[in-house]
Amino acid sequence: MEEKNIQEEQNGNGYKEDRNIGAAVIVLLLVLTVGEFFIGRIAIDWNWPLWGIAIFKAALIIYYFMHVTKLFGSSEEERL
């Protein structure tokens, strides 16, 4: 019961939203990796799409997981 209350309190503080963002990003990353795998198998000399996918995947991680924007703002309070 107490745990449920804590959970509800956390959800109200953007907790659920943060978790959903993480889930959406990982699904996208996995889908892109599967696509990358098949492009690599089928189109041997086709490197540019692979570079594009890699850069996009890296950008997703840097922006959503590494919170690069925190470098430019005041941090701790922003996330709480």
Partner: protein, 190 residues
């Protein structure tokens, strides 16, 4: 004056400064990996080593998934969910160890060449070895954070070490995002 001293000794100020230092380190470390990536393409532009494709794909998925759990651990502690934090960081550690087993234990033993056999083997072992070393140090870092987390060192308000461990772990993932296609997918297998 007093206010300035208080501000400079505040946890927030220290975290902001440490974060900047961490990112400077990450950027400088990225140059090492960029150098390795450039060397790989300088030596073998249209070729790649004949490696186990399924294994490469599997370890990539493992490392990506570990990043997701690290993100969850970071999110959990940011919102005061300490149980979730320790659980997710433990999953990250296990996945990191699995990645190491996949690269060092399996990929290295099944690679079609040995260390120092030719230029391709040298670049392959240097790239994967350097990355594996970072994964290993990341796992050690995470174990320290996990242990301290279990002892209640971190809270919703004060948890910069967790954030630092997460940034480092995600950086390792970003490096592999470029290494995976460079080693396994780009060019003709020779």
């Amino acid at each position: 004056m007093t206010t300035q001293v208080e501000t400079h000794s505040s946890y927030k100020f220290k975290s902001d400064t440490n974060r900047l230092g961490l990112w400077l380190f990450i950027i400088s470390d990225a140059f090492v990996f960029a150098g390795l990536l450039v060397s790989r393409f300088y030596l073998f532009l249209g070729e790649r080593p004949e490696l186990n494709q399924v294994l490469g794909f599997a370890i990539t998925l493992i490392l990506l998934t570990s990043s997701f759990f690290m993100y969850r651990a970071d999110t959990d502690i940011s919102h005061g969910n300490e149980k979730g934090f320790t659980r997710n960081i433990l999953v990250t550690i296990v996945l990191g160890i699995l990645f190491l087993v996949g690269v060092v234990g399996l990929e290295w033993s099944t690679a079609p060449f040995s260390v120092g056999e030719n230029a391709m083997s040298s670049i392959f072992f240097t790239m994967t070895g350097m990355h594996a070393l970072h994964v290993l140090s990341g796992v050690i870092f995470l174990l320290i954070v996990y242990r301290k987390g279990k002892k209640g060192f971190y809270s919703q308000e004060q948890h910069f070490p967790v954030e630092a461990a997460a940034i480092y772990w995600h950086f390792i993932d970003v490096v592999w995002i470029f290494f995976y296609p460079a080693l396994y997918l780009m060019g003709r297998a020779v």
